[in-house]
Structures are given as structure tokens and as C-alpha cells.
Amino acid sequence: MALVTAAAFLYLPAAQGFMSPEMARILAFHLPNAMVVIIAAVASGYYAFRYLAKGRSLLDDARSKVAASLATLFCVLTTVTGMVFAQVQWGAAWNWDPKQTCIFILLLIYAAYFVLRSGIEDPEKRAAVAAVYVLFAAVMTPMLGYVVPKYMAPLSLHPKQASLSPEYHSVVWSFTAGLIGLYAWLHNIAFRQERLRLALLTAEAED
């Protein structure tokens, strides 16, 4: 991770074709973060589905919650790096670009998800309600992908085909691999913490 971070500053050439070629290096952080958000969101939905469909194990609920919290974290990182870059590249930190809109709504959904969780005391009830919310959101939000480009900005400011030098490809992809590793590591730690908390609660209940 440290190697790739250093490479982003030292090895990457300034990307031509951007407003500020020097600043374009932030791409090496922005793109991988966005990819990890998608992975975390899918993981959170998958475990929510598994909780409801298979066995109602509170461990699956814990996995779903951990994935959701990491999705929120990487969502914030993607938004912040994106806003910094947008300020330089497009002249304003916020442009209601389709991708900006979508990621902001994703943030709102996760924020509401955690408020909903904190409002329910019973762990099993909380798990079921939270899982249903995640799945309901997973069904309703893909419409954004159709509606937002149709109405808000027909042409995305995000480039479809970026002409980046091969150095970018190697750095972006190795950083993505590193971030996925970081995500798996954080997921594992947070999940084990949740598992211990669950074990503690059941032990207390038995006493």
C-alpha cells in the first residue's frame, strides 16, 4: 500500500489532457475507492439476503452491517477525492454530475440505514428490518442509473474513455488490489469484533 501511494506521487507522470495535469494524480486514489464502494455495497446486500433467506444467523447480519459501514467509509473517501478533483477539473466541487448524484444518494441511504439500526433494540428484529431496508434500497436505486442521466445531465462530466498513460493503468489497478485487500482486512477485524460482542451478549444472557 505504501509503495503504491508513493508511486502515485513519484512514478506517475502528470496526465495530459486534464485541466491540471499535476492534480490528475488524485485519480489513482479516486477510482480504486469508487470500486471498493461497489464491492462493499454488493457484499452488504448479499449478506442481508443471506440473513433473510438462510438460517437467520446474526453473524450474517453482523457481516452485512460491517460491509455497510465500510461502504460508507469508502463512499466518503470517494466523494471527498472526487470533490477535490472536480474543483480543479470542472471548476466547482459539486456539479450534479450523474455519478456525483448517485454516490451522494448512496451516502444518504447508508446514513438512514444506521439511524434505523440504532432505533431498534431487539437484535433479531433489528437484523430483519435492516436487511429488508438494504434489499428494498437495492431494488429501488438502480432506477437512478436510468433516471439521473436522462434528466439531470445528459452528458456525464466523467470521461467514458480516459486516455491515460500505461503507468496510470498499472498504478490504479495495483492500488485497487491493495484497497480490496485493505477492505477485506478491515471487514475481517470489524466482523470479529462484532462476533465477540454477540458472544458476550449471549454469555451475559445465560448468566
Binding site: 433473510l52 444518494i105 448512496l106 444518504l108 441511504i109 446514513a111 438512514a112 439511524v115 434505523l116 432505533g119 431498534i120 433494540e121 433479531e124 428484529k125 430483519a128 428490518v129 436487511a131 429488508v132 431496508y133 434489499l135 428494498f136 434500497a137 431494488v139 429501488m140 436505486t141 432506477m143 437512478l144 436510468y146 433516471v147 439521473v148 436522462k150 434528466y151 439531470m152
Partner: protein, 229 residues
């Protein structure tokens, strides 16, 4: 009992128990009157010219927040009254959802029917295509009612109910609200001076598919929450 008859029985029960107290109806109506007064006063003080775009935006902001005050009660009230268990014993989760959704949609449609002409005349905005406006309002209200009925079932299980409902529903309603505002603009003649229905046809299609998706997803998921309580 067949599924449809059971759902209709729940709908009838919803309407009848609402008619006894008229709490949701009167709170929604008073909220709408308050909001309309505020809009009228604020725009009167501002004295700026208000175009159809402002009207289209305000209609949907008004409908969204009025729905958030009134439609959340659907499931919450069963938990408060302690009647959830009795309902759970006599009806399936999907029929309860369908009945409550129908009652909510009716309430919201009534509100739209009264508030929209009031707002349009308040802002002195002319409607270019009333049929398109009616279609957009109807489908939009059905979609909003479906999402709010579903989130109401989730919120009924939580402790802080008031603000949570709007927070849960808003991100999911964004596609609907965007399409609805666009369609309302077309119906009010923005970029569509001739008032052609075709200008808003795409929006009507988006709203209809949104409503279908919201209803299907709710019917598939509601049992998991309903059997939890």
C-alpha cells in the same frame, strides 16, 4: 378468503377506522394548508415572478413532506394501539400491505387533488395539458404511497419514528421525484408551449415503472418485517 378479498377487507378496515377519527386526514389537510400559506406568504414577500418551474418543484416538495407527515401512521398505529397481533393472526403480510397501501394512495391522491389546483392558482400558473398533469400526479402519488407504506412498516419497529420515515424514504424516492418534476414541467408548458402529451410520455413511463417496481419489491419483502413484530 382469496387474496384480493382479504386485501380489500384490510383496505375497508383502514378507511373505516380512519373515518372514525379522521386523524391522518385532518393532519394531512392542515399540514397542506399551512405549507400553502407559507409558500404564498413567502412568495408574496419576495415579490419575484414565479414561473411554472417553481410551481412544479413546490408541488412535489409539498406532496413529499405531506406524505411524510400522514402516511407514516399506516403501520405505526397498529403497534401503538396494540392491534398488530390481531391483524397478524387474521391476515397475510402481503394483503395487509396491499390494503394499507391502497388506503395511503387514496389519501395522497385526495391531497394532490386539492393541493395542486390551490397551489397553481396561488402562483397564477396555467396548465398546458391537464390530462398529462393528472397522469403524472396520479402515478407519482401511487409510487410515493408504495414507498412510504413500506418504510412505515420498517419504522414501526423502531423507537424514533418521526424523522426517520422521511430519512429512509427520501433517497429511494429521488428517481420518482426527478421524473415527476420533469413531467409536471412538461404539463405546465415548460419547453412545451403547445401542451403536447408526448412531451411528458417518457416521464409517465418512468413513473409507472417506478410504481410497479416499488409495489413488487414491497410485496416480496414485507413478510420478513411483518412476521418479525
Amino acid at each position: 378468503m382469496s387474496w384480493v378479498r382479504e386485501a380489500f377487507a384490510v383496505f375497508e378496515k383502514e378507511v373505516r377506522s380512519e373515518w372514525r377519527t379522521r386523524v391522518a386526514l385532518s393532519s394531512v389537510a392542515l399540514f397542506a394548508v399551512g405549507a400553502l400559506t407559507l409558500i404564498g406568504l413567502a412568495l408574496y414577500i419576495g415579490q419575484g415572478p414565479t414561473g411554472p418551474q417553481t410551481a412544479a418543484a413546490l408541488i412535489w416538495v409539498l406532496l413529499f413532506f405531506t406524505a411524510a407527515t400522514g402516511l407514516g401512521r399506516a403501520y405505526v398505529i397498529e403497534e401503538e394501539r396494540g392491534t398488530a397481533l390481531a391483524l397478524r393472526l387474521t391476515a397475510r403480510g402481503t394483503t395487509v400491505w396491499a390494503g394499507k397501501f391502497a388506503a395511503n394512495a387514496l389519501l395522497l391522491l385526495l391531497l394532490a387533488l386539492m393541493a395542486t389546483p390551490a397551489l397553481l392558482s396561488l402562483l397564477k400558473v396555467k396548465t398546458a395539458n391537464p390530462a398529462l398533469l393528472a397522469c403524472v400526479l396520479m402515478l407519482g402519488c401511487v409510487g410515493i404511497a408504495a414507498v412510504f407504506t413500506m418504510t412505515s412498516a420498517l419504522v414501526a419497529q423502531a423507537t424514533a419514528k418521526g424523522g426517520l420515515l422521511a430519512a429512509l424514504s427520501f433517497p429511494m424516492l429521488v428517481p420518482l421525484l426527478v421524473a415527476a418534476v420533469h413531467g409536471t414541467n412538461a404539463a405546465l408548458g415548460v419547453g412545451n408551449a403547445a401542451g403536447a402529451f408526448a412531451a411528458g410520455l417518457g416521464d409517465v413511463q418512468v413513473l409507472a415503472s417506478y410504481a410497479v417496481i416499488a409495489i413488487t419489491a414491497s410485496l416480496m419483502l414485507i413478510d420478513f418485517v411483518w412476521n418479525e413484530g
